[in-house]
Symmetry: C2
Subunit: 151 residues, 2 copies
DNA sequence: GTGATTTCCTTGACATGTTAATAGTTGCTT
DNA sequence: AAGCAACTATTAACATGTCAAGGAAATCAC
């Protein structure tokens, strides 16, 4: 029984000093700040950058899959795609087979923005890894996934 | 050298399938959903709940400390406090010693909302712990803190 | 003291998060 | 084929996130 368990009745809440929700918020802040700094000159938000990243990796996707893979709500994605299509970074079309869907793809202009920032983004990603060490970094990812996936 | 390191050139980005930012977003979603469900009947947001939690734990705090401890931006906190003061859950006053500050405190009505939901919140918090096991849960918190604190 | 600087909070503008409602399609059932 | 259910994307309304700018008060420098 760890130190934290002692004197913990079932109805006790953990201190906000060591609370999982707040720890997740702070970590997201720490991880995102360098990415936002990188994107400051481009006019992109971190969410728009993730959309480019995902489409670059998987190719054209319909809205729901894109939203899922980029960690965005469907309603947010709708607006983001509208903005980025207007800016010439994305294009979309409705497949004849199922006209409910919107298939979204990157334009050449979008690929150019990706290319311009990939190297910096890779350095930022590597810095997280260095910060924790490779083993702890992988374990952090594992733990976060176990939190998200009920199985 | 781990499997992930092989064939990784310095300029390569990790796959969005296993990306720290997206993993953090998904984990936050998983952790917050039960809390939002709990609060559905109260009209509170998860952020407003955190404000109550922090003030309950530390007593009256000025805006910047409250924002920091609750994981909120100062500008968001300003609006949240306005809303919650209007709803009678918080009260604030300006200390004579430093009239720049706003000291914020919970009202009896705020404490009542806290009391009504504490037991459920404690069960939710315990469920995260159970899901990962106590040891992994503590390590997850440690890793998240190491990500946030440069030291 | 006075002016410059810093601290603390607030506001505004815009993007996203969250939820609920809705229109348009498709699939299923009969 | 007609009706109903399920699916997909969008919109609206409101709260928060993010950044930049601003006002009021305290602090510093001289």
């Amino acid at each position: 029984m760890s130190r934290q368990d002692r004197n913990l009745r079932p109805s006790d809440l953990p201190s906000t000093r060591r609370s999982l929700p707040i720890a997740l918020i702070r970590a997201r802040e720490a991880v995102m700040t360098p990415i936002r700094d990188m994107l400051a000159g481009t006019g992109l938000t971190e969410q728009q950058w993730r959309v480019l990243r995902v489409l670059d990796e998987f190719g054209p996707l319909d809205s729901s899959e894109l939203a899922g893979r980029a960690g965005l709500m469907a309603s947010s994605l709708t607006r983001i795609v509208q903005t980025m299509t207007g800016a010439g970074l994305l294009k979309r079309h409705t497949p004849k087979a199922d006209r409910r869907r919107q298939v979204i793809a990157v334009t050449d202009a979008g690929r150019a923005v990706l290319q311009d920032n990939k190297a910096t983004a890779a350095l930022i990603a590597a810095s997280y890894r260095t910060r924790l060490g490779a083993a702890d970094y992988e374990q952090l990812l594992d733990l976060l996934e176990r939190l998200s996936d009920p199985e």
